[in-house]
Symmetry: C2
């Protein structure tokens, strides 16, 4: 027996942040703006546009304000920015009218958190504790993402209880949504099913729980189905299968938005997203980058049932 | 609730046939032999080595006899050859001592069958009817694969009842195993779960039922999990994600053996296959072909839990 599936899921596009920050060559601001404007007209209702990260750490996103000022996002599409720490939030707040959501994050493993942001997990959480009330006061939605939720490339196994302990702290801090990142693609469908089953049972009534899978070992969509079967209704993905993680080097892309949408629609799960429009956007970013992307549906095209 | 999974599955490697026949440049025979010998030492117990197809149709496999004579396959590893028709079987039979299994096939859609082998399905089945008793008499195992079982790139939907009708005829013809090919990657996990659930209920006591998925739209492993959840214990895959189909042009690769093995082992499902050894073989074929392959684990490496 296949478990019953949700009828509808929501997809947040993270390519303009997670994808663009991982390109070795910085994408010109005008190209970013054109690509984001295209994504914003695909039916996707939430887009992570950029990050207020230090320009010397991630120069690829040093044009955050120019991107936010340049894009033309239709009503009903929520603009999100990633905030790495309190200073990032201080820099973002003067531009409050340019976005509706912020994302904050920490890792579930000390080593990854240290290599990623040079803090302990407790230090990251203290930063989030300080930052979230200010964001809520400013009327912003807050998603908190827990990186390496399913495994750490440095430490190996990550105890789900440790992750759930962080979830509790993030909820107490005021987060309205908690995302679980399989940052380096270590998760498998059995693990994901058990993890999301438990997470939804414990926290599903309090916050939106979001799945963020990478396709590092080709299992990204299999993991998405496992999360879906467990009741997850919120997914993050990246057009063209762009993305990765600053550490370790070589961490590969998010699941491709177009592959996820194609699969979900074929399964009878609605997303509100127009697949051909996403494919157009993926084609456009492939042209900008001038290289083949990891996306499959971009090459094969949608399924045609005749 | 996640359905209980089989503890163990078998994997048949089809790269030397399905993969090599789809390479635009014919792979030198000596390279094929070296790659097959490597695959035969990975723990994989069944390998499709080549096809007795007409050299003018698929010149990439015109060295079938030389490959069969050249390989050095350990005891316990079954050598299989694909047989397109009675004439192919006539050509293969004199080399009977060089293989233990044959594969025969037809499509579930008339248009695909016509474009692939220039016959109606009934003509293909009549050929199989004539051929299988001779193969059984010669002591060969017979697998019959039904291409386009989950959808046809020309006709669209394929009625499962039509596929199951073909299964019945193949069983009656003497086939000991029936494979279902998602030849152009149109299947989705919901469809696969329903299909394999029904197929196993109807035919699981009579024959081995095998899943053959392509990763055309990135859903290959998700479909494999769906089949596994439905009780399927036999899978075909191709090292390096090689493969495709002669028609239509551009049909992309099988699921990668190394991605499938990595996922199954991570899920706690045993295969008897040594993942590092398969990765070595995939690396070797990538070197021979001189191009990046679709395989993910080949790039990322196995999951390391520290």
């Amino acid at each position: 027996m296949t478990p019953a599936l949700p009828n509808t899921v929501q997809i947040r596009e993270v390519g303009p942040r997670d994808g663009f920050q991982n390109e070795p060559e910085t994408i010109p601001t005008a190209d970013k703006i054109a690509l984001i404007d295209r994504l914003a007209r695909t039916g996707i209702k939430r887009i992570e546009l950029t990050s207020f990260v230090r320009a010397d750490v991630i120069p690829q996103l040093s044009d955050a304000v120019a991107v936010l000022e340049g894009v033309d996002i239709p009503d009903g599409v929520s603009r999100s920015v990633l905030i790495p720490n309190e200073r990032g939030f201080d820099n973002a707040l003067p531009h409050r009218e340019l976005f509706e959501e912020i994302g904050v994050f920490c890792s579930a493993s000390e080593t990854h958190n240290h290599k990623n942001v040079n803090r302990t997990i407790d230090e990251s959480l203290a930063g989030i504790d300080a930052l979230v009330p200010r964001a809520l006061e400013a009327g912003l939605e807050v998603e908190a993402v827990i990186a390496t939720s399913f495994g750490c490339p440095y430490e190996g196994h990550v105890d789900p209880e440790k992750v759930f302990g962080i979830v509790r702290r993030l909820i107490d801090a005021g987060a309205r949504e908690v995302g679980f990142g399989d940052t380096t693609g270590m998760a498998n469908p059995v693990q994901v099913a058990a993890f999301f089953g438990e997470a939804i049972a414990r926290f599903g009534d309090e916050v939106l729980l979001t799945a963020h899978f990478h396709n590092t070992r080709g299992q990204g969509l299999a993991n998405a189905v496992a999360a879906l079967q467990a009741g997850c209704t919120s997914f993050e993905s990246s057009f063209g299968e762009l993305g990765g993680c600053p550490v370790p080097a070589g961490a590969t892309g998010n699941i491709a938005t177009e592959d996820l949408v194609s699969m979900l629609h074929e399964m009878g799960v609605q997303t509100g997203v127009d697949l051909p429009a996403v494919l157009d956007a993926a084609r456009a970013v492939a042209e900008v980058l001038g290289r083949p992307l990891g996306s499959h549906t971009l090459v094969a095209g949608p399924v045609v049932w005749g």
